[in-house]
Amino acid sequence: MASKRQIAANRRNARKSTGPRSSAGKRRTSRNSYRHGLTARLTLSTKRAKRIERLARKIAGDTTDVVLLEFARTAAEAEFDLARVRQVKVALIERLCVFGELDIPEVSTKTLIAHDRAYEQTGVIPPAIDAAATMPSSDPERLAEAVRRALPDLVKLDRYERRAAVIRAWSVRAIKSRTRQ
């Protein structure tokens, strides 16, 4: 167990590290755990909200039951979330087909110095490594390679797809049991 002196020292030290103080720092750290925003409910766009509401009304039928309508809204939202994750998957694969990589390669100081030296010696700027050039040229192989390179992200996205599918199935079950009452 910590002594009183140790506890006091811990408290003193903790006061020294309470995170950023400037508003810019706070803004930056507020996005520390942000990864892709796929779990966020994006019903803010009016067009999307309208489409979800239309689908929810269709699912709920001519009901006046607000609870049932709410379940229908959850199912409709999950349906659109599923489509969004699938859209992201397709966009990633297509980007990889074109560029061969998803991240812009970071140029280290070492590489910059090496490039500078090469330019001084030869007068020619050394070409950057083109990830797209490492992709196969024929279509089926190019797609296979793009999917292979996208695999870590596809595995992560699969989790979100499953989550949306579970929410939809749960909502449909709730709708069914509600209509049976």
């Binding site: 489409r51 239309r54 689908l55 269709k58 699912i59 199912a75 349906e79 659109f80 599923l82 489509a83 699938r86 859209q87 998957k89 397709v90 694969i93 297509e94 087909c97 196969p136 279509d139 089926p140 192989e141 797609l143 296979a144 390679e145 999917v147 292979r148 695999l151 870590p152 596809l154 595995v155 699969d158 797809e161 499953r162 599918a165 939809r168 199935a169 449909v172 079950r173 709708i175 069914k176 049991s177 209509t179 049976r180």
Partner: protein, 201 residues
């Protein structure tokens, strides 16, 4: 697809496809599922669209799996060549000028392919050895694809079960409501007759 079903499908979000994929082919697959399952109502339509898309993704991944193995073939031939040339008999072939990439030669034409096979036959290696090496070298990626495939297949099966459950529930619900209607009618029919004796009394 009927007009009604088309109108219902319009409410659902579009299924995103790759630029290289054929929309017509996807529609044909979707129609085939529609024909087979004959969805009733928007919820069943939702599940059928899901099943069609999941099946499409399964096919896409299976094709990619084959593509990944094919792409690894060249390196597999080169790897085997490196292993073979490490042996004393292999050194002799290097001396004969066979040092160029056999992996590249494999894909350059049937004659070169035959030559590569003849070279490896001296070491009791054939095409199956290249395939095994290609699979071995891309095992990590293939495992990930298999995991994704398993997830897609399980979700497709779950969607099929959901339709069955929903239909079961729907049928039960129809039965119950029709029973209620029949009971109501029976009661309504019984009421005047039950009143009669009291009226008489």
């Amino acid at each position: 697809m009927s007009k009604h079903r088309r109108a219902q499908s319009a409410l659902l979000p579009a299924s995103p496809l790759l630029i290289t994929e054929s929309g017509d082919e996807f529609d044909r697959m979707r129609d085939a599922f529609d024909e087979e399952i004959k969805p009733r109502g928007i919820i069943e339509q939702m599940y059928v669209a899901d099943i069609a898309y999941l099946s499409w993704e399964i096919l896409r991944l299976r094709r990619c799996k084959a593509g990944i193995i094919n792409s690894a073939f060249r390196h597999a031939v080169d790897n085997l060549f490196a292993q073979v040339t490490g042996s004393p008999r292999g050194q002799a072939y290097i001396m004969e000028g066979m040092g160029q990439s056999l992996g590249r030669a494999w894909f350059s034409g049937p004659a070169a392919k035959k030559q590569v096979l003849e070279f490896f036959s001296d070491f009791q290696l054939d095409e199956s050895a290249f395939e095994a090496e290609a699979i071995r070298s891309s095992a990590a990626d293939l495992e990930r694809i298999d995991r994704l495939l398993a997830s897609l297949e399980s979700r497709r099966n779950k969607a099929l079960r959901c339709i069955a459950d929903y239909r079961g529930g729907f049928a039960r619900q129809l039965r119950e409501s029709s029973n209620r209607i029949i009971d109501g009618k029976v009661l309504a029919l019984e009421k005047p007759s039950s009143k009669k004796p009291s009226a008489v009394a």
